[in-house]
């Protein structure tokens, strides 16, 4: 597939890196900063073109005429939209994906249609991050929550604590602890290294466990890993930017939400927008303010300002002052590694979340969802098993008999409303949603091929 990426910022560079790793993709990146492109070209097997992303001659030079997909990820919404328009009108590129931050564009009806601004897929990092945090708040104790099969099955990452019922026991003991549930442990990260678990693997405290289970069983599984946490009631958000406000308005009906914003003008504006949240004017790292607002009683503290350093510091302060769980928005993955080992419970990277959903669209076809797990060490993929004229590489076969590439394993199947945990003799049926775990990303293309033939 010939892919044109406009904008070599954080998300653009990462997307180029991930996509060019798959052999079948030809990636071209356009940006107007030559130094960034040079650096990128040194690292990756891609073509780079220096120029303004929405100029027709630049797109032409970047091979616009025979590209299959254009992904507009520049800093400017307007450039992204215009680039998609040009890609469609002049170069007739099939799929157009754009990052659009501004809610004003996102909410207007009939704007992104074929004869107006033809953007097929609109990525809004703020919306994605917001949904991500909501999931985490819904399942206290989870580090990452991913949905599969229209939300019927969920993959949850959790850190094992000493209070977990399964600590020090073999995985096979799980069946005795919680009978009548369907779920399994898909992967374990111990000291940052992946571990392929089997029935005899013993769970230790501080392991990061990925398990997949039906929606209703998630809580039961969670108690096996750590002490059950009471549902979140009180949420304190630092930073009244787009993400903060969006999160507040999503949570304010069910939780008690406070939001801190340092700019009085902005604070006034958001207080008018929000109904039940309390808007506080002040600095999120002001100890006085935090203790006055009972930070020690807060269930979740989210620092969501634009400055990642400020996010780290205010989250650390809140944690020290007694907040039960702190979530911090970080742009750099290297920071995430640093702080997650220490005081901050969850680091959220908008880049990673955006890329996950971007990749899912690009891989398209019968692979409906691709999720990067925890800083991209592995991916979870959802694919639909189709059958055509009785021919298929997967339908009607037991899992043992499916010829999967190395580093891929089938973990769960969602059939209708049923979540089935895959065993070696499970037979795959037509229209099953198959959920796979992939540790070697270069194999994703092979995997797509298997399901495409299906």
């Amino acid at each position: 597939m010939k892919i044109l990426i406009l904008g070599a910022g954080q998300v653009g560079s990462s997307a180029a890196e991930q996509l060019s790793r798959e052999e079948s993709n030809d990636v071209t990146v356009v940006d107007n900063r030559a130094d960034i492109l040079d650096e990128l070209q040194d690292r990756l097997d891609i073509r780079t073109v220096c120029g303004h992303a929405s100029h027709p001659d630049v797109i032409k030079k970047a091979g616009g005429e025979d590209s299959d997909i254009v992904i507009a990820l520049t800093d400017s919404d307007e450039t992204n939209m215009l680039a998609c328009q040009i890609a469609s009108t002049i170069f007739d590129i099939n799929t157009k994906i754009a990052r659009i931050r501004s809610a004003a564009y996102m909410h207007s009806k009939n704007l992104f249609t074929k004869d107006a601004i033809p953007v097929d897929v609109r990525l809004s990092p703020e919306k994605l991050v917001c949904e991500h945090i909501e999931q985490l708040i819904q399942y206290p104790g989870a580090l990452q929550v991913l949905e599969f099969g229209n939300g019927q099955a969920k993959l949850v990452a959790a850190k094992v604590s000493h209070e977990g019922l399964l600590v020090g026991q073999k995985i096979s003991a799980l069946k005795e602890h919680i009978p009548n549930t369907e779920g399994r442990i898909a992967a374990i990260y111990r000291d940052g290294q992946p571990l392929l678990p089997d029935g005899d693997t013993i769970i230790r405290a501080d392991d990061e466990v990925f398990f997949i289970a039906a929606k209703k069983d998630i809580r039961a599984f969670m108690t096996e890993m750590r002490k059950i946490e009471s549902p979140v009631r009180r949420v304190l958000i630092a930073g009244g930017g787009h993400i903060g406000v969006r999160l507040a308005s999503a949570l304010e009906k069910t939780n008690q939400v406070k939001i801190i914003e340092h700019d009085p003008v902005r604070a006034k504006l958001i207080s008018e927008k929000l109904d039940d949240s309390i808007v506080l004017v002040g600095d999120a790292s002001d100890q006085e303010l935090l203790s006055e607002e009972d930070v020690d009683n807060v269930d979740v503290f989210c620092s969501l300002t634009n400055s990642e350093e400020a996010n780290i510091l205010s989250a650390m302060l809140a944690k020290k002052m007694g907040a039960k769980k702190v979530i911090s928005l970080l742009k750099r993955p290297s920071y995430a590694d640093l702080v997650e080992a220490g005081t901050i419970d969850i680091a959220i990277s908008p880049k990673e979340i955006t890329i996950s959903s971007l990749l899912a669209y690009i891989r398209g076809g019968d692979v409906v969802k691709v999720h990067s797990l925890r800083r991209g060490a592995a991916e979870a993929i959802e694919a639909i098993a189709h059958e055509e004229k009785g021919k298929s590489a997967v339908v009607g076969k037991t899992i043992d008999n499916i010829n999967l590439p190395q580093g891929c394993s089938i973990i769960t199947i969602v059939r209708g409303t049923e979540v089935i945990i895959a065993h070696h003799d499970t037979v795959i049926e037509k229209d099953d949603h198959v959920i796979l775990f992939v540790t070697d990303k270069s194999k994703i293309a092979d995997l797509e091929e298997i399901f495409r033939k299906a």
Binding site: K2, D26, T28, A34, R43, D45
Partner: protein
């Protein structure tokens, strides 16, 4: 470790090139098959031994490793390529001579230590031409094209091997595809060239052999008197055309081929300069020949042929230009310093660098007149970053310094001024023929001078920095 893996792999790949001369030998019933089979066996075994213990190590190549692999590979390859010369009874060559011949072939220099080419077995002659052909587009570029496992590392190798100051303009998003495209263009030119030679009157063997060394801008011939052996105007004109084409940046050929459109050439300023240089040089050479030398009635084609052959650093000859009158021999040798375009198979400093140096000089003059002016260096309408201009100056000065040191070293071995000067120029520019004692080859120069020449050819082919960076403390201090 990953360096060892790649060098082993490349060596095994290279060993297969010793099998084709066996076929040629069989066709012409030579008795050389043993020495080629032996060389093949040694090369593939050593390659295998180097590769096997580390075959599982797949660390990505860094830019530093790229220099290492390329430099190491050219040196190693030059040595292994010498084995058939050394072992064949018919050639009777010392180790120095064998390595000289092999490196001269691979670097597309075309200087030879062999006299009596016409009496050598066809398989050996073919092997020499093939070395030039493999070295022309770059054997590592070939490896990148057919060994997909090099991955991103391929880019590092490609950058370290391809000539020219700006190496980031890939033709296609994937480096493997770029390398393939270059080799397809290269291969097509070779085929067309061989057919043209054949139609103009060469026999099949000579046509193929000369097409290899023409398109590679090599200069090896299967006859002592080079192209002059054929004494055929049509052949000379064909050679002129293909030498000229091979001295053009192959990216331009690729775009022309892809877009079925020739206007690319005229829009490219390096091409325009290259064309002008060759044109002016040819006019001067032809005019001087007409003025001072009336014995030869083919002055026009002879002049044009030598102007193109020497300026593109091919080194084919039809007459002994070292004996030409006046400034002509030195003029031609100096022209070889400019060489062909970046991204071509030619040697020399490259036209684009000369163009940038000229523009930089013009800028300095303008600055004297307008001290406060902001004057960018532009090629066509595209401004060139100061980083590139700096690199070009750095390259130019190191070229001159290396030249001066090699000139002195050559003279220490006992060569006279003219011979030493032309010997260094002939090797560092990958030209081939020289003046004075070496006008008919390097067979009579001292052993030491041959080794200096070998170093010069490698430095010239790898554009000095790739080799030089390896002997700097900065490279190793990590």
């Amino acid at each position: 470790m990953s360096i060892q893996r790649i060098v082993g792999l490349l060596l095994m790949l290279f060993s297969t090139s010793m099998l084709t001369p066996i076929i040629v030998g069989a066709v012409y019933s030579d008795s050389t098959w043993q020495s080629f089979l032996f060389s093949f066996a040694i090369t593939i075994i050593i390659g295998f031994v180097a590769w096997y213990p580390v075959k599982e190590i797949k660390k990505e190549l860094k830019l530093r490793d790229g220099f290492m692999v390329v430099a190491l590979f050219w040196v190693v390859l030059g040595s292994f390529g010498a084995i058939p010369f050394f072992y064949a009874n018919e050639t009777d060559m010392s180790i120095t001579d064998s390595i000289f011949e092999s490196i001269s072939g691979l670097t597309t220099t075309g200087a030879t230590v062999i006299t009596g080419l016409d009496y050598l077995p066809k398989s050996i002659l073919y092997y020499r031409q093939q070395l030039q052909w493999l070295g022309g587009m770059g054997i590592i570029v070939l490896a990148v094209a057919i060994l997909p496992m090099l991955g991103v590392g391929g880019m590092q190798l490609y950058k370290a091997e391809t000539p020219g100051p700006i190496k980031d303009n890939k033709l296609t998003p994937r480096i493997t595809e770029t390398a393939k495209a270059l080799w397809y263009v290269y291969l097509s030119f070779t085929i067309i060239c061989a057919l043209s030679y054949y139609l103009a009157g060469m026999n099949a063997f000579d046509a193929l052999s000369h097409s290899f060394s023409t398109v590679a801008i090599g200069g090896f011939s299967t006859h002592d008197t080079s192209i002059g052996y054929f004494d055929n105007n049509a052949i000379e004109i064909i050679a002129i055309i293909f030498m000229f084409i091979a001295g053009v940046n192959f990216s331009l050929h690729f775009f022309a081929w892809q877009n079925k459109n020739l206007t690319h050439y005229l829009q490219d300023h390096e091409f325009r300069t290259y064309f002008k240089i060759i044109l002016i040089l040819s006019i001067i050479v032809i005019a001087l020949l007409y003025r001072f030398d009336n014995q030869n009635h083919q002055n026009f084609i002879t002049g044009l042929f030598h102007a193109v052959s020497i300026a593109t650093t091919t080194g084919f000859t039809t007459s002994d230009f070292a004996t030409w009158p006046g400034a002509l021999p030195i003029l031609l040798i100096l022209a070889s310093f400019i060489g062909g375009s970046a991204g071509s198979t030619a040697g020399g400093i490259k036209v684009i660098r000369i163009l940038l140096i000229y523009k930089q000089a013009v800028r300095e003059i303008k600055r004297l007149v307008h001290p406060n002016a902001e004057i960018p260096v532009k090629v066509g309408r595209e401004p060139v970053s100061n980083r590139v201009v700096d690199a070009v100056w750095g390259f130019f000065s190191i070229y001159l310094i290396v030249f001066a040191f090699m000139l002195l070293a050559m003279m220490i071995t006992g060569l006279d001024h003219t011979t030493a000067f032309s010997a260094v120029a002939a090797t560092i520019n990958n030209l081939g023929p020289g003046l004075g004692e070496i006008s008919s080859g390097f067979s009579n120069v001292p052993e030491g001078a041959k080794w200096i020449a070998i170093a010069g050819m490698l430095l010239g082919r790898l554009e000095i920095f790739t080799l030089l960076v390896l002997i700097t403390p900065t490279f190793w201090r990590h």
